[in-house]
Symmetry: D2
Subunit: 336 residues, 4 copies
């Protein structure tokens, strides 16, 4: 039994974590933290939890969190997270960090894309990137895991087998993603106001989205040479789900069969990656920790389609998967 | 040709007014006003208007508006509207007021439901209520028209023929409305944040909604005796549209045929009310100024269903219909 | 461990049952049946189940089902179900029937509302109605349970405490329901074709919906006197969820506090009914077996709001709850 | 005044045509044809038209159509259209054909992509392609216009200026489109059943969609050299709208400024193309005949985003624009 706390529990990833962890037989949620006036009961903020969990959203210091929990799931915004995580680690707590703060290995890349100096640069490059399909062994022994971004999860899982096998050119890979609105978080703004984004599709942050360097970095590590993606996210009128379409140029002639074999064998033992022959819909993985992947050849290009639930495999489900690995619980506990 | 201005042009009713008025051959939009930093071009606020209208959203005094326009469509919030409208009228401008400020005839009722003293109480009770189907003659000669609320429009049009004919009990009428999210306006808030209200239905302000006294008042006038409604609005995951279901008790035995005859003859000459035999969907009147109505008898009760587009017949379309009446243009101009 | 089969596994309630039962530690799904060409793998029909369950959708006789399973969840259409269920029972299998065939106790009422003679009239009136909150003891010893309709579940749970306490008039109760589209099943038709029902609300089968006599019958049993509801379902553009608003007339003066006490004490020990002070949204119970209920007094009427997920508490979740009761498993297993 | 008929009036493009043409001061709709049992009134099939148009959907021969109308908008399925159109032309009627039958110039390409022999191969290659922005002069004198496909309209308008200017490589252009569900037509099927496609994104017909050769052909004509696109359509949970993202490789170094200048000057005099600096949403052009286009450079690639309403600029609006050109009416009549 592990006592866990959630820091930043008022948002969507916090809510999803609670729901998943309530199903975990080896977990006791002992504290929820967020900065809200009056330290409201969690069910006031998340009415779906009425009768499920009797905790308040408290304003807690790292020391107070450490007194109550062995492991903290940190759902704070980037920039803030890296000011708190070091204190938690110092207090002997393990941390699964859902922010972007520990994903990049280079402080200068972080500064360039996040427009701020990293608060804890010394740790960068030494933190396990929480994509078990690629880094399970590093995760296993870690006290801090950087949970991947939602778009990178969908793109990396699709492209890694092809890059690892040297089948595609590492430069100029097109990553065209379609995401539900929950990825934008729970703070109301005009772009996510219902009558603005409903019945509409739009692209945003083309070429400037902060998940770009994360994809570059992890895919470069996999490929063993510099990878550069052109990344375009699109906002779709649905709550949850990401479908990512990638387009790449093969390095040599390759059949669809060989591509499927490559991807299938890469994920042969993975409990949460499903390589499927049909074109998957995001609804197939909605509410699950699965990533569904397929691949096609079209006129000399390679096209992959991958689908995840952005709040689960793209955030809170992956976080629990990482937690299970860190604590040596069966990897799928609470996730099937 | 009439020169018109729109005050409060940054919201959804403002946008809809502009779109309708751009189709009006006898209208020139000469000014748009709202209080926005930097007085942005209207197409910056409403990208759908790019290339359609070359005006800025200016901060304009009533005097400045009067210098530019003969008629002002006032889309300000209640409470604010009644502080500006008197100045516009004094300056010789005609006003179609889309706020709630001049709909009620009694300042005390206003104070009780809107939690504030009315800024211009002397005018209450003397303003035409802009539902042409009931008050066309009063509207015709008016310099100020109080444009009806969206829910009242849907409920009153359904119930008026039955109350007028003395067919139903005036007390305890149930009005159960279902509305799209645009009715909540354009300011982002948690309840209208996409992932909160999408894939969900909820009731709000049951028994406390401010459109209640408006329905009571107008229906009482029609019935010639006090009418009291129990009004429950529900928020539906769609952009636009209101479907209102009413339940009432007949005063005597009455067949569906007689009910249809009553409603049909009441609206025989109305260009924007369609009495239909089937159960209408809000989509049938989406983007139009129509109100579709049907009626049923069920186990000794009378059920009506009425549908409108809340931004058109429920707001901006009705406003232009009123404008056409005031200025003696054919009533359907720009609305078909 | 209980071996179970699902008959009619290609539809939405079948899929939902599979998902819930896969989480049940005491259940083994041993057979899936439906009449599909080629007896396809379940994951071909429900791609979300890829990697979860390795069974085909077979065409199986009652005898074959009985050979493989101790309990059959029957998701066949009404009229068909009652031709198969007797054979299953004769073969010694227990049945949770999700169709409407065994809900009504009177063959003539069935014939009148379902336009067909009941195939197994002798059993009517002797079958437990699977609403544990009202009939737990009858369910416990049953070999056949009639799983309730989705609308009746939402309406009965809201009204039963008030009728039981004699607080409201039993005649003329208004039941105005709003449902997501999955309630219409998985067979494509024009009314549920996306561009027809999206961005639209409509009423259907007003006064003629087949769940009407079901509500009447169960509520009459609870009240101890004849209850008659006026039932209006409305189709809402969302996948899942039912919100039911009821309007009734109190028999004596009663405060909101007393109403809340009545409802709360009625459900004091129920694991899946949550009496809430706020106005619940269907999203609060989405994906769960909960029913959220609140109550209001408005101008001398009593208004209740209740929300369920139509596929869970309104169908497959309730079915598993009934299964747990019949087999004496803890009632919430696989449902939290 | 021109008398027009619509053949295939029961579908979405037929409905949209009717709505647009009802606003056209120089058009009289004299006949609606479709093959429906009982020749129902148009308002029975399209309830939104109640009170707007008093015609039946008749089963009419080409000769009967020719007797009633000077111009026929043909909304028949591909394959069928080319068996009727020749008879209409022979009878002296002008035709705007919304099917795919006359878009391709090569019967063999048609046979390869549409899996059938072309019924009227002799005419292929001689029919004006109804994209006024590229082929206005050919359209002007035509008695038959091939109205473009919805995806090709969005992709060609974005890419034509760049190909014409020789700025991008003509091979390997990625066209990633996102479309609302109405593009799939009005016949119910599982993929467009609400609970299947709502809250979900999926790709379909990747590399095999029939609009591929249409894009190739028109873009090749514009470029003066063979163009080949990799086309991936995606189904989005919304009624209407297409957003197309293209990715291409520049032939030489080029700035975003130069790209904007190229596109802007290409469309300088076009009433329905808006080159915008921001990333457009499909909602900006919803319900209009506009195509909004922007362009970006990202890591040495050129990205374009273009948005249209698939039923208007992608079908019925374009058809009326073509009609206006053919009949020498001002091009924007009924379309603003």
């Amino acid at each position: 039994m592990t006592r866990v706390a959630i820091l930043g529990a008022a948002g969507y990833t916090g809510l999803e974590l609670i729901k998943i962890l309530l199903r975990h037989p080896e977990v006791e949620i002992t504290a929820l933290a967020d900065r809200l006036e009056g330290q409201p009961h969690v069910a006031t903020i998340h009415p779906s939890l009425i009768g499920r969990l009797d905790l308040r959203l408290e304003t807690l210091t790292p020391a107070e969190l450490a007194a109550r929990a062995e492991c903290v799931f940190c759902c704070l915004p980037h920039g803030v997270s890296a000011t708190i995580v070091p204190q938690l680690l110092d207090a002997g707590v393990k941390v699964i960090d859902l922010s972007a703060d520990y994903r990049l290995s280079d402080p200068e890349t972080y500064a360039a894309w996040y427009n701020q100096k990293h608060p804890d640069p010394g740790r960068l490059g030494k933190v396990a990137y929480g994509l078990p399909e690629l880094f399970r062994e590093q995760i296993r022994g870690s006290s801090l895991v950087a949970n991947p971004g939602c778009f990178p999860t969908s793109a990396i899982l699709a492209l890694a087998p092809l890059l690892k096998a040297g089948l595609i050119e590492p430069r100029g890979i097109i990553v065209d993603s379609k995401t539900g609105v929950s990825g934008a978080g729970r703070s109301p703004k005009l772009t996510t106001h219902y009558p603005e984004c409903n019945e509409s599709v739009s692209a945003y942050n083309i070429g400037r989205h902060r998940h770009t360097p994360e994809m570059d970095q992890i895919l470069s590590k996999v490929a063993g040479e510099p990878v550069e993606v052109i990344f375009s996210p699109h906002l779709i009128p649905m709550d949850r789900g990401i479908l990512t379409t990638t387009y790449s140029v093969p390095r040599r002639e390759v059949t669809e069969d060989e591509l499927f074999q490559t991807v299938r064998s890469f994920y042969a033992n993975e409990p949460f990656v499903r390589v499927v022959p049909h074109l998957p819909a995001t609804k197939d993985s909605l509410g699950t920790n699965f990533c569904d992947i397929t691949v096609r050849t079209v006129r000399g290009r390679i096209v992959t389609i991958s689908c995840i639930d952005n709040l689960i495999k793209g955030a809170s489900g992956a976080a629990v998967q990482n937690f299970n690995i860190v604590y040596d619980y069966p990897e799928t506990v609470a996730l099937l």
